[in-house]
């Protein structure tokens, strides 16, 4: 299905807003869960305003609910948040924000804003503009919806149905799959890294506190970055099937091989011209 909007910046903003609103509604579930666990409305709101990273917030609420060890609960919440630091490494060069604005942009780093920024066509100033638009649109819409949802959920705790009955629990994984899709088609290395990352996390889940398995998946990226064999398999050396370039349901991002890995501008131009 071809995108009607030719402007990558507008398309990125539109996708970001759609995702932010869709995922942000689960702020209702967090607000309700936090108050049900024994937190105050203010505590739930401070977490959403400042920590602003869903999994960590749910982890802390679960620890408070257990009436248990708040130190362990805090540690697991921070561990869950550590992947945002790894995202930041990537976003720093992709977005190129400078100066004090970084203090605000840092707050906006989440799974969702990272995924939308990465899904944008790469290359040069237009690529950066689209990545910035996607990041900021996701940040803005998700931040507002998540915080409004937290407040509403905290005030109305107990009056909500289960998020599962609306299928909201599958919105997150489905959105991440859609956003990762273009990169999975880009190259064999990406597919291998994604598969290895998923297997590492699943294998580690029964043995680790929540949060650690996902962070451990970074080992897959480390392996691919260090192995000479993996370098030879980079998208520049072994491009994936070209495929119709307008195929991407998300942001037409299949046109962009890879922002910063080894795919050169020539590759990007080639894919674009094929569109």
């Amino acid at each position: 299905m071809a995108d009607t909007s030719a402007d990558p910046v507008k398309r990125a903003a539109r996708d970001g807003i759609a995702l932010g609103v869709a995922v942000g509604t689960s702020g209702l579930a967090f607000g309700a869960a936090a108050v049900a666990s024994g937190m105050s409305v203010a505590q739930a709101c401070v977490l959403s305003l400042v920590a602003y990273t869903g999994a960590s917030q749910f982890a802390l609420a679960a620890a408070v609910a257990g009436g248990g060890n708040l130190i362990a609960g805090t540690a697991s919440a921070v561990l869950l948040g550590s992947r945002n630091g790894l995202y930041g490494l990537r976003l720093a060069s992709l977005l190129g924000f400078r100066g004090p604005f970084r203090l605000l942009a840092a707050l906006g780093i989440t799974d969702e804003s990272t995924a939308v920024a990465l899904a944008q066509p790469a290359g040069g100033q237009p690529g950066r503009a689209a990545a910035r638009a996607g990041f900021l649109a996701t940040f803005g819409s998700l931040y507002l919806t998540w915080n409004a949802g937290t407040l509403a959920g905290a005030l109305g705790a107990g009056r909500l149905g289960s998020p599962g009955s609306f299928g909201l629990d599958v919105v997150g994984p489905a959105a991440f799959l859609a956003l990762l899709w273009p990169r999975l088609r880009d190259g064999r290395t990406e597919r291998t890294v994604a598969l290895a990352g998923a297997l590492i996390a699943l294998a580690a889940t029964p043995f680790c506190p929540p949060g650690l398995p996902v962070v451990l998946a970074a080992v897959a990226a480390l392996g691919a970055a260090l192995l000479p064999a993996a370098t030879a398999l980079s998208p520049a050396g072994a491009p994936g099937p070209p495929g119709p370039a307008d195929a991407a349901g998300v942001s037409g991002a299949a046109r962009a091989p890879d922002a910063a890995a080894s795919a050169g501008p020539a590759d990007a131009a080639g894919e674009r011209s094929g569109r």
């Binding site: 921070v78 859609a178 990762l180 996902v214 962070v215 970055a225 349901g249």
Partner: protein, 105 residues
């Protein structure tokens, strides 16, 4: 200050600090091609892991939730059919919600 408030404030401060630390790493630390490659592939590995854990994990164990897996399968089918983003999300949520409403899964 209650213990819960301390936990809330420490969590909030640390989560923000981690984000800022990643974003403000000096560029020269990432100048090496392998470091750039690592930074580029990290989100791929982490997002894939997140999909797997959210789809199949429950707290500290693996649990198969048929409705959730069917929803994710519907998303993958929509992506193969080149559906736009919102359609992918609606297909996933609608499939999971529908199966649960029918009591099938």
């Amino acid at each position: 200050m209650s213990a819960t408030w301390i936990a809330v404030l420490v969590t909030a401060a640390c989560c923000y600090a981690l984000k800022l630390a990643g974003l403000t790493v000096p560029p020269r630390w990432l100048a090496h091609p392998r470091a750039q490659r690592f930074a580029s592939l990290v989100p791929v590995a982490l997002l894939a892991a997140l999909i797997a854990v959210q789809a199949m994990g429950r707290d500290e164990s693996l649990a198969l939730d048929p409705a959730r897996l069917a929803g994710l399968g519907a998303a993958a089918a929509a992506l193969l059919l080149r559906a736009p983003f919102l359609v992918v999300i609606l297909a996933a949520a609608g499939t999971a919600a529908g199966l649960r409403a029918l009591g099938v899964a």
